[in-house]
Amino acid sequence: MTFLRSLCCLLLLACSVQAVEVVVHSSVSETTLSTAQLRAIFTMRQTRWTDGQAIQVFVLQSDHPHHQRFSRDKLKMFPYQLDAIWSRQRYSGIGSFPMQVDTAAELLILLETTPGAIGYLPTDTLSSNLRVVTINEK
């Protein structure tokens, strides 16, 4: 009985963290990215879209449930790996940190108002002003 109760709690917890979608500002023409390309963008190595526009990367704090879901589901990475890559690149002078914000509401505003922006949002907060990018898992 205790086991079943624990299992139910875990399932409820898992369901409470909504799925996220990768979204871009309306100025971005890309509609599909591979997982490898998404990694190149979110590890801050790829800095320009194909039309030459600068990529602006926005994320939530590393311990935010949506960030954790995004890291695992979309990037196929653990959040601590991303943190380590950002720090190593930034403190050896060859990269930058993405812009980190505290809430999904802040993230939504920045994504809607920043040309070249890419980020992620939970499925129930997607905006018609943003474009959802399909991730090709190859």
């Binding site: 490898a36 190149a40 196929k76 653990f78 601590y80 190593r88 930034r90 403190y91 002078g93 060859i94």
Partner: protein, 389 residues
Amino acid sequence: MKNNNRFYWLMPLCFAGAVAQAEPLEIHGFVAQGIAQAAKSNAINNEGDVSLALTELGLNAKLDLYPRLKLSGQVVYLNGGNRYPEGARLDYLFLDFSAIDNFDHQLNVFLGRYKNQHWLFSSTRDVPFTRPSIILPQSVYYDAFRDIAVASDGLALKGYKQLGQGELEYNWSIGSTKITTDQARTLLSPDIQGSSEQKYVHQASMFWQGIGSQASYGISLLDSQFSYKQANFDFFADGDVTVQRVILNWRYQAEKWDLSSELFQERMSIDGFYAPGFERAQIGIGGYLLGRYRFDPKLTALVSVDMLALNKDDKRGSQLGQLGIPSYFGYQHSLMLGASYELGSRFRLQAEHHWVDGTGRLSPSLVPDLERNQDRYWQVWALQLMYWF
């Protein structure tokens, strides 16, 4: 300020001049203070006492000059006791040109003082919160060699290429590092009167990670030559030292734990230095396996095993007896246990204890300190509080 700072003083001028023309400017840094002790050895200080010589401060800036051109620099102040010379340094200052920037291939060219990007932890070994332990495995990350190995003045390339089955990272660099008198004394002998220089260091490395794999594999090659010029009144002679190193590395990262390992073989040849006409060449081997386990987002445990033999044909150092040097100067093996705790999003407390057999990686390297290292077995512990922004 002292040490290898040929143009550290130019850094604020470079950034000040460029700020007026371009944005954005990013500034970050770190502050770390610790306490350490290595009884029965000169690893931290000559007396083997508890020491506060575990200070690391850094401030860095990165500036976008043009869409494809950036300027990056960092100054650090370090005090590690006998591990490396105390003082401020220009850690890096280079122009970063983005030569290829498309979705499947990125290539950057660095000109100036660039960081060593060829080993698993080499690029930020002096940035406390980015390295796994306070004192890194000495077989590969020999502290006395820190200033020479951490950065070089010259040209470097770094690229990432997406291939069908995974991602290839490649690095190449050629340059040299100015060796100050303090560094030469740490590395060679406190009794030297002459001057040392690194003629060149040429490195290349590749790392591979397959699609969907949590493992990465790499190889790194190094070729470097040093020279020593004797002073008018000097116990040592003119000499050349050549170092050639091959490192194989492997890393596996799971959700709760990760493993890292680097194995190396290094050929070192010495012509002169000890006496005119002296010649010696030997091949050293070593490597480490380091594991971390995350109990929760705050608490991480750490364990590593590190092994080194300076001469693979004499792994227990028995031939050193002919020179009057105890055999335990021919190797150094250690076990380390440690833990780190996140006190806040940018605060960490780290602690570790090393049990060591052998003194092969205590400085100086070429003329061992027999007086202060009379014990084959010794221990070192360290506790460090770090903050970064």
